[in-house]
């Protein structure tokens, strides 16, 4: 399978008369884009903004991030979701780099939504604080979940994915500034030079713990709660086969942008043929019942062993209950003779004194740790808020609260906030970007 990504580096975004990309400037016809979004009659209110690094902008409640792209063969970006079923991972896609479409609730948030700051002390907590963002702020008529703490955010998230497709079209007939090629053939008979290197799989555990449909990550549009682990080509992940869900405390989330750009896959690709023989991805999931967790771990270990993997990188999209899937899978792989490096975040409490993962095992001897979900964060007011900041304290965001005897409410009258890292949008970057680690004090 060979995926060519043609890159267009976005240096600035402006609103103008015509959707276009020229000399690093992405121009968007706002009314045209909004009209496109309003084609979904569930959208009741919509506005577009631009948020660039250094802007005095805070966004809340942020629901999803997507990289604008364009497939040259006309296929939709997310087969089985925004377009008909079709294979992902082969062919040519063009991407607007250093740029994302963010979806923000105009009013209402939930457990799974988060915060992004574009400048100041809060900027460093998310990857998106450093991107040029096209921000869709919208509301919907999804009355059934308006006051639910857990929201599917279906209309808003789909609007984001479609907007990313819509904007991506502007580079269809242009020549990319540079290209990345991801090519990986069959897993066997790769030749002695490659096969003498230790073989490695990347095991992903995307979030799929909601029993009701509509909240979980999707693979080719399929809810991953109804899924047992299988082998995937890494290019499928990079090319839109995975779509992020709407369930987990958001610092643990892998957005669709994260899947499209999965840095761990790119890092393993970079080592392929040099230090490792990168076999591919074992796509697993996260489960609710112990039996389900054990079943997935058993599948992963068997597949890794059957593929002849010497090593595995294992990453979970979640913390708390999913730690049981993570540790269970880690141990199953080690027991099968596969050497594992785990990537995760921790929950050590505001005081840092709690057990870092819900379950532990001495076999988990190699872990890259990306942050503490319950770290307390206090940030000054921000000049501009996109969305509704009160959602942080009102709507049950995982890192916010209505009131607290010692700390007061998460959102203060002057617009300053106090919150747990839990609500930093994709903040722990377990997908691979995390510049954070955990240290003993």
């Amino acid at each position: 399978m060979k995926l060519t990504i043609g890159n267009f580096h976005v240096k600035d975004i402006v609103f103008g008369s015509e959707l276009s990309f020229k000399d690093g400037v992405l121009t968007i016809n706002k009314e045209e884009a909004l009209a496109f979004i309003r084609e979904d009659d569930r959208i009741t209110e919509a506005e577009l903004y631009i948020a660039k690094p250094g802007d005095k902008i805070r966004m809340c409640p942020v629901k999803e991030a997507i990289e604008p792209r364009c497939r040259l063969d006309g296929r939709g970006l997310f087969p089985g979701y925004t377009s008909e079923m079709a294979p992902a991972g082969d062919g040519v896609t063009y991407a607007l780099k250093n740029c994302s479409v963010l979806v923000v609730g105009r009013h209402w948030g939930g457990f799974q939504d988060g915060i992004i700051d574009m400048s100041g002390e809060g900027q460093k907590y998310t990857y998106y604080g450093y991107l040029n963002n096209i921000v869709l702020v919208a509301d919907t008529n999804e009355e059934f979940e308006r006051h639910e703490q857990q929201k599917k955010n279906d209309a808003l998230r789909r609007a984001g994915h479609k907007l990313a497709e819509f904007i991506g079209q502007c580079v269809k007939d242009l020549t990319p500034e540079d290209t990345e090629v991801y090519e990986l053939g069959q897993m066997i008979k790769r030749g002695a030079e490659v096969e003498k290197l230790p073989s490695v799989v990347y095991v992903m555990q995307p979030q799929s713990q909601m029993e009701e449909m509509g909240y979980n990550d999707l693979v080719y549009g399929w809810d991953m709660n109804h899924f047992v682990p299988t082998v995937m080509h890494p290019n499928e992940v990079l090319d839109g086969a995975l779509v992020s869900g709407s369930f987990m405390p958001v610092s643990s989330k892998w957005s669709t942008y994260d899947f499209q750009n999965c840095p761990s896959i790119k890092a393993l690709y970079a080592e392929h043929g040099k230090t490792i023989n990168f076999l591919g991805v074992i796509m697993s999931n996260l489960n609710v019942a112990l039996e389900q967790k054990e079943r997935s771990a058993l599948f992963v270990a068997q597949i890794a062993k059957s593929l002849g993997a010497d090593g595995a990188v294992l990453a979970e999209e979640g913390y708390g209950n999913p730690d049981a899937d993570f540790v269970g899978c880690y141990v199953a792989l080690e027991d099968a003779g596969v050497k594992v490096v785990g990537v995760t975040n921790e929950c050590t409490g505001r005081d840092g004194q709690s057990q870092p993962l819900v379950t532990l095992d001495e076999k988990c001897d190699a872990i890259v740790s990306c942050g503490n979900v319950s770290e307390l964060i206090e940030l000054p007011p921000m000049e501009t808020v996109l969305g509704e900041l009160d959602a942080l304290k009102r709507d049950g965001l995982s890192g916010g609260w209505a009131d607290d005897e010692l700390l007061g409410p998460s959102v203060r009258a002057d617009g300053s906030i106090i919150m747990e890292n839990n609500s930093m949008f994709c903040g722990d970057q377990v997908i691979g970007w995390s510049p954070k680690t955990m240290k003993e004090f």
Binding site: G311, G320, T348, P356, C364, N372, S398, K439
Partner: protein, 348 residues
């Protein structure tokens, strides 16, 4: 100018060696022994007093020694209290830990000490204070005092103290997130660790597996028909107005609700405020998490003796182990007072 007071044993206090180990505490104005070097290393801080106590005296008459020293410190200006460095002298390390803990509790000032890792004082006190990793012999005095002063200066200036590895103190069981100075992303650390592990080279995990805190399973209740049973849950079942304001995640609160005259919990009167699962089933019928209905029937059938008048609730999702332990300690006295023999702990 800030003020510091230093504690040393009989040897470093220049009273004498082993023959003077039984010496009772004494306090001197100014600096004796290591206190003189602290005076040089501490920034903008005066070492006003040196306290000297024999190691055997502190070991055999601990309460008296501590009370005497606390009495000596009463009314003295003090911004920081330093003890040692104690090197590999076992009794001295315990003495430093003991007096630092007492001074910190009584006067609320920061305390710093230093010990060699092979000594008993480390495990006894490392969670309570900054203990610098010290040398094994007194010739390390200069560098051990310097390391203590380095941390002490930050505490005196109100600057953040760095992580255990950087500053050289024994980890206190506290883990926080930090930004790596060079910004090395997780992928680079991951590949580095992977290659080392695959190639059989030493590697360093970022999450050392802590010693597991396992709770032994209690012995079975022998006489269930006469036992009193209580019902507890982390599934967030509360009266609909959530009177104790228990949080939906990362809970720090709990509540107890009287069910003495309740045959079954009704939807509409009780609900779950837990944010980690689909609440529909529990809201419709709270007994699926807190089975008051079934327990009342079993009680009538004589399966167990009696049901404690209250059920207890908190939320488990995201709730830290430390908070859970604290809440349990708050709940247990109620159960003991009522003579509860066993509890049913419902998780979700």
């Amino acid at each position: 100018m800030k003020k510091a007071i230093v504690y040393v044993n009989q040897f470093f206090g220049q009273i004498g060696g082993e023959e003077k180990a039984g010496a009772a505490p004494e306090i001197h104005e100014g600096q004796i022994g290591p206190a003189m070097q602290f005076a040089k290393e501490l920034e903008d801080t005066e070492v006003t007093h040196t306290i000297i106590c024999g190691d055997n005296y502190m070991g055999s008459n601990t309460d008296e020694a501590v009370q005497t020293i606390l009495g000596m410190l009463e009314g003295k200006e003090m911004d920081i209290f330093l003890a040692g460095p104690a090197f590999q002298a076992g009794r001295y390390t315990v003495a430093c830990g003991t007096i630092c803990k007492a001074v910190k509790e009584k006067f609320g000032v920061p305390v710093v000490t230093s010990m060699n890792e092979e000594t008993p004082g480390v495990d006894m006190f490392k969670k309570e204070m900054y203990i610098l990793k010290g040398g094994n012999i007194a010739s390390k005095m200069r560098q051990d005092v310097k390391a203590m002063a380095n941390v002490a200066n930050k505490l005196l200036k109100g600057e953040p103290v760095g992580d255990a590895e950087t500053e050289g103190y024994f980890a206190r069981g506290i883990r926080h997130q930090v930004w790596l100075e060079d910004g090395t992303p997780a992928t680079v650390r991951m590949i580095d660790m992977l290659l080392k592990k695959l190639n059989g080279e030493p590697f360093k995990t970022e999450l050392p597996m802590p010693k597991l805190d396992r709770v032994p399973i209690a012995p079975a209740i022998k006489d269930l028909p006469h036992a009193k049973i209580a019902l507890l849950n982390t599934g967030g079942i509360v009266p609909v107005d959530n009177p104790d304001h228990i949080q939906s995640a990362s809970a720090t609160r709990w509540g107890r609700y009287n069910i003495a005259d309740t045959e079954a919990l009704k939807g509409g009167e009780y609900k779950t405020i837990h944010a980690g699962f689909d609440p529909a089933a529990a809201d419709a019928n709270p007994n699926v998490i807190t089975p008051v209905d079934a327990l009342k029937v079993l009680q009538k059938e004589g399966v167990f003796g009696s049901l404690h008048d209250y059920f207890y609730t908190t939320v488990g999702t995201g709730t830290t182990e430390a908070e859970a332990r604290r809440m349990a300690k708050e709940i247990i006295p109620y159960l003991k007072e009522d003579g509860v023999d066993g509890v049913i702990m419902v998780s979700t």
